[in-house]
Symmetry: C2
Subunit: 213 residues, 2 copies
DNA sequence: CTTCTTCTGTGATAAATGTTACTGTAGATT
DNA sequence: AATCTACAGTAACATTTATCACAGAAGAAG
């Protein structure tokens, strides 16, 4: 357990790791748990050591829209940003695979930024990469049509799990793209006809050759 | 000129202001100048002291999509983020009203973060507010239809200039929302019929009463 | 095996948005 | 005044996406 921080966050200095273990509290959450809601105040920064957390935006009508996933070795950029002034969360965070996290009280943030170079760099890099990711999301909805967005979504999923099978129902995909199940079914069918995927119940197999370009 | 920094960035400490004036270089740019292109390397952080800069994303087909405007007293969050590692820009920055800026070489960033508390806080706050703004943009395209987005766009414009007349052609609006001029014309006409706006050549007057809710 | 539930496929139709094509008008230019 | 150009209005049509309605198939539960 102690060592997992070291391997997951290889750039952290030994002193920083010690400080984290001293001040943070390790916690586990089951899939389905909602860790953060829109409008809630943020009291902790979260480092993920196991599992997966989905960060998404919720529309007034209850629709949702996927921003990105948090995985082991990553941290929640939003919580870091808001934390500084204990702001309200602008997003929803939901556990999609049982997670283990390190909860770090917000008071530590500013302190460590000054004291630990490796923490400072990690925070900046987290901001940067998330900002970039969100910009890519904007690109997708602003410039691309549903079929392209679907392809991109599947690709991102398979990249993240490292395998070519995406185990999701059409309904789940539709929800994350904020569209309807029928639309997803139809587009997937077309993709199958184009030879891009193979469809099974609750599972979509990406035929990589056509995909990775 | 010296004093403008002080009034525009009231939270900066006197020492920080002195340091900025010492290390930064004041520069002016005419409306229309493109300060940053997608893919370019970033060498400076930019503080705006006069004018307006448009930050937008560019699609492969040349379409554009407005993210937000930078105004006096603000800084380019992207340049701050990327700067840390001299990354490539992910966005376009175009001067829309003649600007004066302070260019700050990227080496200063990290240094000042450690040395000047008020700089650190400014940077964090800039990150936070821009991130929030981008999330709002995502909301708009993900959950709202064109007419709502148009209303939001107009409102934001009038808020930013403090007046109720938006001096833009339908074409310009269409470009920023990445749609076509005809669509904007149609929707504006409908809004006029609903009594929300009054249309003139190159100018849209918001009839506030209905608007500010 | 039978029943139930969830997931998937698909047609028909509606609504929103994009595209094409054309017209008129205001203001600038000559 | 005559001409030109950018801007605005609008109809007709194409395309994309959303919604409704229903049917069949896979797997779970009894």
């Amino acid at each position: 357990m102690q060592s997992s921080l070291k391997t997951l966050f290889p750039n952290f200095s030994p002193e920083l790791i010690a400080t984290i273990e001293e001040n943070g509290s390790a916690q586990d959450f089951k899939a389905g748990t909602i860790l953060m809601r829109t409008g809630q105040y943020i009291k902790n920064t979260v480092l993920i050591t196991k599992g997966k957390i989905k960060i998404y935006r919720e529309g007034e009508d209850g629709g949702e829209f996927l921003m990105y996933y948090l995985q082991p070795g990553q941290a929640c950029a939003i919580s870091m940003i808001c934390t500084a002034k204990s702001e309200k969360s602008q997003i929803m965070a939901k556990v999609t695979e049982d997670v283990s996290v390190m909860m770090i009280p917000l008071q530590m943030m500013d302190k460590w930024m000054m004291e630990h170079r490796s923490w400072y760099e990690f925070v900046i890099e987290t901001y940067r990469s998330r900002f970039e990711e969100v910009l890519e999301v904007v690109d997708n909805i602003a410039f691309r049509s549903m079929d392209e967005r679907l392809e991109f979504y599947l690709k991102r999923h398979s990249d993240s799990c490292g395998c070519s099978e995406v185990k999701l129902s059409h309904q789940e995909i539709a929800t994350e793209l904020n569209t309807s199940r029928e639309v997803v079914s139809r587009l997937l069918k077309k993709m199958e006809q184009r030879g891009l995927v193979k469809l099974n119940r609750n599972q979509i197999e990406l035929l990589k050759t056509n995909f990775t370009n």
